[in-house]
Symmetry: C2
Subunit: 359 residues, 2 copies
């Protein structure tokens, strides 16, 4: 048994863990490990938005173009593709790329192919929406949790290995306790979402500035290799409740501090659904996420089911990754997206001009 906080990220505590040193979790879970050279990662959610099936081929072509750009020098080390329909009835395709070197991400993002495509006036006249939602948490600002040890998805794919069994899981508050920065930082949110450029109601280009400790959770499910019994466990027992919880957050999350919630299905490059999915949740703070997770009936029911079956899971792969980041290490940009997209819904006009994010 080992701490979720890697040795080189340990530091003298000013804040205590929630559980005593001899706490024993009720089943095994693992986290991703990376060497000290991993100092900061980049998670870039690059989206294409369209309304109506007729626009799907154009949207898929745009997604394919983004994926092709990943092959350029300094592209992400790992990516995956998803589809979801949002609360306004728009479809969205997202390619999420992961870098373990923010300098490489920066070179890629500023490369002429990527930069010129995004900046081109043509983007404004395609009957498609585009967005970039990028956060760059430092090593002490994210945590992971896997019910398995092989082929880690998401940020785990750019880390080096799986840990041994970790201590900090199986209790409310363990998510916070797995963040290295929680040893001496409350991860308090600083500021609000602000529109720093453009007007969501008018479409066109809009830039939103985030704030310190804005929280991003990716919480995933992979039933591709599961046998009939585990598929049924997921599809019949877990999914309906999960769907209800995620719909609730999508539709009523604003009052709770959930800026955006997208339950997405993985797809291949041709848009065919795969048997993996995840939820992408943006929150005002870890605390707001904690409060929801530990009090909402849907999440409590999922938690109970997971507790019951966790020790016996074989090929149903459940996991999450949660990060906070500095406001200056966030980038939220939109082109012709409807005004409830991503951070647009909860962002308020800013009175002071500011740069719209990092890098």
């Amino acid at each position: 048994m080992e701490s979720a906080i890697d040795q080189h990220l340990k530091c003298p505590r000013t804040l205590s863990r929630r559980v005593p040193d001899d706490y024993q979790p009720p089943f095994a879970m693992w986290v991703g490990r990376a060497g000290e050279d991993l100092q900061q990662v980049v998670m870039a959610y690059l989206g294409v938005q369209y309304l109506g099936e007729a626009r799907k081929p154009a949207a898929l072509a745009a997604l394919q173009r983004i994926v092709a750009s990943f092959g350029l020098s300094d592209g992400p080390l790992h990516h995956d593709l998803t589809h979801h329909t949002d609360d306004s009835g728009h479809d969205n395709l997202i390619a999420v790329g992961y870098w373990r070197d923010p300098a490489a991400y920066c070179r890629w993002m500023r490369s002429s192919d990527v930069e010129q495509w995004w900046s081109a006036d043509a983007r404004l006249h395609e009957d498609l929406g585009y967005f970039r939602e990028v956060v760059a948490p430092r090593a002490e600002q994210f945590e992971t949790l896997y019910a398995f040890r092989e082929r880690l998805p998401g940020v785990g794919a750019v880390m080096d290995a799986s840990s041994g069994e970790i201590e900090e899981h199986g209790y409310w508050g363990s998510m916070r306790d797995r963040f290295p920065i929680s040893q001496n930082d409350w991860m308090a949110p600083d500021g609000e979402l602000r529109i720093v450029s453009g007007d969501p109601a008018k479409g066109g280009r809009v830039v939103v500035a985030g704030h310190d400790n804005l929280t991003l959770i990716r919480s995933g499910q992979d039933w591709a290799q599961a046998d009939a019994q585990e598929r049924s466990l997921y599809l019949d027992e877990i999914l309906p409740t999960l769907q209800a919880g995620m719909d609730f957050l999508r539709d009523q999350g604003a009052a709770l501090g959930c800026y955006s919630n997208r339950f997405v299905r993985n797809i291949d490059l041709q848009g065919n659904p795969l048997d993996t999915s995840y939820n992408i949740g943006h929150w005002r703070s870890v605390e707001k996420l904690e409060r929801w997770a530990e009090s909402h009936p849907t999440h409590l029911r999922i938690f109970v089911t997971f507790f019951r079956v966790a020790a016996g899971l074989r090929d149903l792969r459940l996991y999450h990754e949660v990060s906070v980041s500095d406001g200056r290490e966030q980038r939220f940009e939109y082109i012709n997206c409807h005004p409830r997209t991503g951070m647009l819904r909860d962002a308020t006009p800013s009175c002071t001009p500011q740069s719209g994010g990092a890098r």
Copy 2:
């Protein structure tokens, strides 16, 4: 809004609260307040055990005798009476007395009437069992929580007043955070339950020694003044799940660190049931209690229901009090009780003779 930890019990922290300073609970709750003169309380659960209805009159008479002894000099400031049938099919009557001055309790317990009655050989030959389960937590070693402000039951009845709305509730871990001692103490259990005198299998007199930070929870319900709607909320919605959870702890709690669990119904001095009840749970530690409370389906369901209705409760009175105490401030004594009674079930024979508790 104020802290559950009273001003005079605040001290510099070495352990942090689970939630940030600006945490806002989702509805109002209150705690008991007492002046600095309240330094330690005594909670004495004095029981009579009988098997079969034929013994009920004798048992009731014994209970009445105990209650009469409360009227002696230095008796408890407050008491109530309960009945429950245990997992072995025995009936049990308990009079619980509360003192806010342990010296008074001590004088009462050592008074000749009380002492001689308990010590008399006649107690061994009555076809009744007796027990005394007494803990004496200091002011920093207990916490309370009430969904109401008037006529506080239990330990609240020997305190001075109700607080204003308190901050530390509505999240997992708030129980711990309400304990003043949690500011710099994990409340770790020290040792095991040990039989220090007698043999439970043989009946007769048995003394069990507790251990530091053994945890006692009294968690109560009072629907006596509730209108039809709130009675139905309690009796139809909450009670079935509560009963299932309490039965689970009674029957399968040992593996989880629950030494004893008794869901008791208040009675009057003639044994007639009242519309109030509570659960008496003895645990190895606050941590074990936390782990159960925040993971067991029955408790999570009650929690969800309570969250939903809490803000609107009028006359359905829900509350709890939780204490830890030093091993030397505990007393567990049994006469002719069956071997699954109270602390007897989980106590193991001791190799070293020791005093069997405090005072």
